[in-house]
């Protein structure tokens, strides 16, 4: 849903590999996880625990809590507030997560 302003320049930037629901992708380093997920079109990021409605980032500045995903086993992490890291395991959420680990 998002694209680089300058794709030639973007190709020369350092990248890291992250895993979205087990699928490995290379994304530009030094950016918030949320923008990487937008660029990968990995939407919706989650289905709500209340009604199962699809959601995706709204504010990208830490106030809306719409961009929650599971990061390295930790549920409900604001993806706009963490930077991508090499090997990061990201899982999109479906409803209320189970306490104490993945299904």
């Amino acid at each position: 849903m998002f694209k680089p302003i300058d794709s030639r320049a973007a190709r020369q930037l350092p990248t890291v590999a992250i895993h979205i629901d087990g699928r490995a992708v290379r994304v530009a380093a030094g950016q918030p996880l949320a923008t990487a997920l937008l660029a990968e079109d990995a939407l919706p990021l989650r289905y709500t625990a209340v009604s199962g409605a699809p959601r995706a980032p709204l504010c990208l500045m830490g106030v809306c809590f719409e961009c929650l995903v599971e990061v390295d086993g930790r549920r409900n992490v604001q993806s706009c507030m963490v930077e991508v890291r090499e090997g990061m395991q990201v899982r999109r959420l479906n409803g209320a997560p189970r306490a104490g680990g993945m299904v």
Binding site: K3, I5, Q31, A56, P57, C59, L60, M61, F65, N76
Partner: protein
């Protein structure tokens, strides 16, 4: 009560926080800055220290200005703790924060809250659909990852930031399918009396006119006085596909891949509400702001607020109010004489007054339309707990006089965003439903944690030796 660890604790490393740190260090105060982001800048100068020359050029001189401030801040000698999530502040100003899931506390006789602003909520039908974002979010994506919406973007709302984002997207090669201007017809007339004062800020007015010119030359369609705006899902796609609205008596529909909403910015009062300092309601901006004196001090002694978190006036004003609050803190801890502080504050006050001159004009011109808050019964107001405007009105009919009883009855505001996204809307809907002033209706009581933290990390604090400061940096 814990001992003092510093003279001044600053929360937030945007223009106000950075400027306060620089000024306080010049007066010899020991300073610690807690900021949630990995790099300084706040939202306005987000990632300015690492932006590529191309991105910096695209975002313009007002953005690049932040680089020099960030450099002074880095050299100031303040203890800098990026990636710190502040989650509790006690009445004795003990600040508890987390870095990497580990909590620690700092405490100083002076606390400066410089946590900035957020965008006014835009509770429109369909605003929870993936692909609908705040306009500010598009700008943050440019700053943090040099990316822009792919495909057709439609901007909805009004205000200087909306125009700026539109121009920046155009310059970055984005496609803008239209601007759905929701500013009501009456705003221009209401703004007119404030125009003479605004003419005292010719550069800012010229910038505004310049942006309008850019959009006009680019042939971006602008739909004025839009009402009844709805975001529609593209069939079965689980994301937005179009925006429909009425403009000048005609129903319109624009296909869109991304919709960017903006109805102005408002102080983020989560921290000042936690501290229960006095707040005032601004009718013209439809928001709360903490009441502060000339040195930024709130009704809680030693607790100051600077920047857009106190009153919306922009980055240059935030830098000034941060410096002034730091001078106030220096006086309070006995490092600076009152007369000297007044002299040092002089140029900053002059800047503040210059920057504030245009505000009444902008506030009137871009006052969000009343229908935005008078939203239809089926519109989601609380995105987290999925509570509609109609349910909030039903709570008012059940006798809920304010947001706290409404929250208890409906779960509105109980989700992870802790009422940030719905607070202003709920206060205003209730005010209209019960026929009272928003100032009397009040706001959500904010409690720790300011943001969700894991129970394990809180439990770890039960072992006293764990409440120590991890190394800075």
């Amino acid at each position: 009560m814990s001992a003092y660890t510093h003279d001044l604790v600053i929360i937030g490393a945007g223009p106000a926080g950075m400027s306060a740190a620089v000024t306080a260090r010049q007066q010899g105060l020991s300073v610690v800055v807690l900021d949630e982001q990995p790099r300084p800048g706040g939202q306005v100068y987000r990632d300015v220290t690492k932006a590529s020359p191309a991105v910096a050029r695209l975002l313009g001189p007002a953005y690049r200005y932040g680089n020099a401030l960030a450099r002074r801040y880095a050299d100031s000698g303040a203890e800098v703790r990026p990636g710190s999530l502040v989650w509790d502040i006690a009445q004795d100003l003990t600040v508890t924060a987390q870095q990497a899931n580990l909590s620690f506390s700092v405490r100083a006789p002076q606390l400066l809250i410089a946590s900035g602003a957020m965008e006014h909520p835009s509770p429109l039908p369909g605003w929870t659909l993936p692909g609908v974002m705040n306009a500010g979010a598009a700008q943050i994506a440019m700053k943090t990852s040099a990316s822009i919406p792919d495909g057709r973007a439609v901007l909805v709302g009004g205000g200087p930031l909306l125009l700026l984002v539109a121009c920046q997207l155009l310059r970055a090669g984005g496609r803008i399918a239209g601007i759905v201007d929701t500013m009501p017809a009456g705003n221009r007339g209401a703004a007119l009396p404030h125009l003479p004062a605004a003419l005292g800020a010719p550069a800012m007015l010229a910038k505004g006119l310049g942006m309008l010119g850019t959009l006009w030359r680019a042939g971006v369609p602008v739909f004025r006085r839009a009402e009844d705006v709805r975001m529609e899902e593209a069939d079965g796609s689980r994301r937005v596909g179009a925006v429909s609205f009425s403009s000048e008596g005609r129903r319109q529909r624009l296909d869109a891949d991304v919709v960017l909403l903006h109805h102005g910015v408002v102080p983020n009062t989560q921290i000042t509400r936690l501290l229960r300092v006095a707040h005032q309601w601004s009718d013209s901006q439809g928001c709360w702001h903490p009441a502060v004196d000339a040195w930024g001090e709130t009704s809680l002694p030693g607790c100051r607020v600077a920047g857009d978190g106190a009153a919306i006036a922009g980055a240059l004003a935030a830098e000034a109010s941060g410096a002034i609050a730091a001078l106030g803190a220096a006086v309070a801890v006995g490092r600076l004489e009152t007369g000297k502080a007044a002299t040092l504050a002089g140029p900053w006050r002059a800047r503040l007054s210059r920057q504030s001159r245009i505000r009444p004009f902008l506030d009137a011109l871009y006052r969000p339309p009343a229908w935005l808050i008078d939203c239809a019964d089926d519109t989601l107001v609380c995105r987290c707990e999925e509570v509609t405007a109609g349910q909030v009105r039903e709570m008012a009919r059940l006798g809920c006089q304010g947001p706290n009883q409404t929250k208890f009855f409906s779960r509105c505001g109980m989700g992870p965003c802790q009422g940030r996204m719905c607070g202003l809307t709920v206060t205003q809907i209730l005010a209209r439903s019960v026929g009272r002033d928003p100032a009397d209706v009040g706001a959500y009581r904010i409690r720790a944690p300011l943001k969700p933290v894991t129970l394990g990390s809180v439990a770890a604090l039960a072992e006293p030796d764990r409440i120590t400061l991890p190394p800075a940096g």
